[in-house]
């Protein structure tokens, strides 16, 4: 639509990233249009922006529980999750750089859904996901709001939502399949299979238990602080 003088227009820019695999080879080039959503005013451009995210302790707890009940955890993620959120406010963005329309250089876009960089994008995504899951009959944890749960007699499905990453598991495989089908029907998902790497935690779900470590993170930490070739010591603190 045509630009009006007192309209609050948000600029846009392109962000380019190369996706690398574990060995550092470039596997994909990504381009994403983001908004310059900083210095927005509360009450005009946004109201509620809080969005919960799973805590690391909670992930560990789920892991221990799954291990005890003898079921495996799986992982999936939502592709460009924030683009799924609907906006409650009227927002306008300028035309993407290098893609301006020569016939209508003074026009701007009105947003229907959220874009990356908007201050309310995480909240709107969380709201959308939450409403969807509730409509499908899943319940939210009473204390831990990022826990998604559904019970059938002796069967239960548990899922933890960490923004766009979802880890889930059930003692009954049909419940898992049902959950996957529901999510795939609503959002564009990518299945990652069994849980092996999550938020920097490396996990191995074996027959007799689950092993959790952060050796990759630890190695990078030593590299970052230039301690890769330091001498080893046996204790973390000096003795006496």
């Amino acid at each position: 639509m045509h630009k009006i003088d007192d309209m609050n227009i948000i600029g846009t820019k392109w962000v380019f990233r190369n996706k690398m695999d574990e060995d550092g080879n470039i596997v994909r080039n990504k381009a994403r249009l983001v908004t310059k959503g900083y210095n927005k005013e509360e009450g005009i451009d946004f109201d509620e922006i809080y969005a919960p995210s799973a805590r690391l302790e909670v992930v560990r707890l789920l892991l221990a529980y799954a291990c005890m009940c003898n079921f495996k955890l799986h992982q999936m993620d939502v592709k460009s999750a924030f683009l799924n959120g609907f906006l409650n406010e009227e927002m306008y963005v300028s035309q993407p750089p290098k893609f301006e329309d020569h016939l209508y250089p003074n026009h701007v876009f009105k947003l229907k859904k959220a874009l990356y960089g908007l201050i309310q994008a995480p909240r709107q995504w969380y709201e959308r996901l939450n409403n969807f899951l509730l409509s499908k009959g899943y319940a939210r944890g009473a204390v831990d709001k990022t826990l998604v749960i559904r019970k059938y007699d002796n069967d239960v499905i548990l899922a933890q939502v960490c923004v766009d990453d979802i880890i889930f598991g059930s003692n009954n495989n049909t419940l898992c399949e049902e959950f996957i089908a529901a999510m795939q029907g609503e959002f564009e998902m990518s299945m990652m299979g069994e849980l092996t790497y999550f938020l920097g935690l490396q996990l191995k779900q074996l027959k007799h238990g689950t092993f959790l470590n952060q050796s990759k993170y630890c190695f990078n930490l030593l590299k970052k602080f230039k301690m890769k070739d330091c001498k080893e010591v046996a204790t973390p603190i000096t003795i006496n």
Binding site: G200, K207, L222
Partner: protein
């Protein structure tokens, strides 16, 4: 070790960065929890000696990079609590 250690002040941004990175590692490493939390108390005005203590944790990690947590399937799920209070006695 206390907040009033003598010695040269060190770059507090770097010190905080180190503490922050170590805090995330606690997720799978309860063995360094005490050391990291001790070092974390001196972030306002870190001295050479504090930095040295923090780097000692890194030295320890260098030798124990691959350790982690093990949850055995047949473990007991009952909750246990421990207390060490002596009510100022």
């Amino acid at each position: 070790m206390d907040a009033y250690e003598a010695g040269q002040p060190v770059d507090s941004t770097k010190y905080r960065g180190l503490i922050g990175s170590l805090l995330y590692l606690i997720a799978s490493r309860p063995d360094i929890q005490f050391g990291v939390c001790l070092c974390a108390r001196f972030q306002a005005n870190p001295k050479e000696s504090h930095f040295k203590a923090a780097k000692r944790i890194l030295k320890y990690l260098k030798g124990t990079t691959n350790v982690g947590l093990w949850y055995p399937c047949d473990s007991n799920i009952s909750l246990s609590g421990f207390s060490d209070s002596d009510h100022a006695g």
